[in-house]
Symmetry: C2
Subunit: 140 residues, 2 copies
């Protein structure tokens, strides 16, 4: 078991998420909030339903995530003029700055995590994970 990619991805993923979540707390964010910001940064402004579908979470969860992101000024919520049922989420300047800080934190964490690897190995690892991420519909 412990030698499988399945086991190693699962355990390392949990460990990385736990430690990175702790650092994210300084920015008043949790991983799913970063997921929303990342999705918004990657595409055009989107509705909550679209984002929920994209992230594979319940629409009701996206309400709570958007509530918080709006409260800290990271996103703006505007009602769609064409279809007044839809709430369109837009990344604010503050949201973009926050996301950039998340990226910096992640890069910092990357450096610590992969510190013992050669630059070549770091590149290989990142590439291989990128292939798997892309194949499984995760952001790239």
């Amino acid at each position: 078991m412990p030698a499988t990619v399945t086991f190693r991805l699962g355990t390392l993923g949990a460990l990385v998420t736990e430690r990175f979540t702790a650092r994210l707390a300084d920015l008043d964010l949790k991983p799913k909030h970063v997921g929303v910001l990342t999705a918004l940064a990657a595409g055009p402004p989107a509705s909550q339903q679209e984002l929920a579908g994209l992230m594979g979470v319940a629409p009701s969860l996206l309400v709570a995530l958007a509530d918080h992101l709006e409260a800290i000024g990271a996103i703006a919520r505007t009602r769609d003029a064409g279809d007044r049922r839809r709430m369109v989420l837009t990344l604010t300047a503050r949201g973009r700055k926050l996301l950039a800080k998340c990226g910096a934190l992640a890069q910092e964490f990357d450096a610590e995590l992969t510190g013992s690897l050669t630059a070549d190995q770091r590149g290989q690892l990142s590439d291989l994970l990128g292939v798997l991420a892309a194949e499984n519909g995760l952001p790239t």
Copy 2:
């Protein structure tokens, strides 16, 4: 963000865990149960406190995990004769068989997950993850 190893390990880890957990359900096991079995298979019979410390979970959780593993006959719980406070957990023949089935499921899942990689790339990925796992005190 999405290009960092941190983000990719976190998201892929969650995805792999979710999908693998579903298959594990056929064996009436959850990931943490496999963690206990794996720890027991790796070393000598251990107490619940030792295992909880090793896995980084609360002792109270290990009670529930051991309850279930005992109920399905995967482990035996015997009171330590030298220190009657300790419950020593031992892998049974059935537990070993179950763990082997978990390994087979994981290898099967590995094949699907890394199907698009070359054999060389699969080896590289496994090795690199193994290095990170070892450095962070995870089973190898």
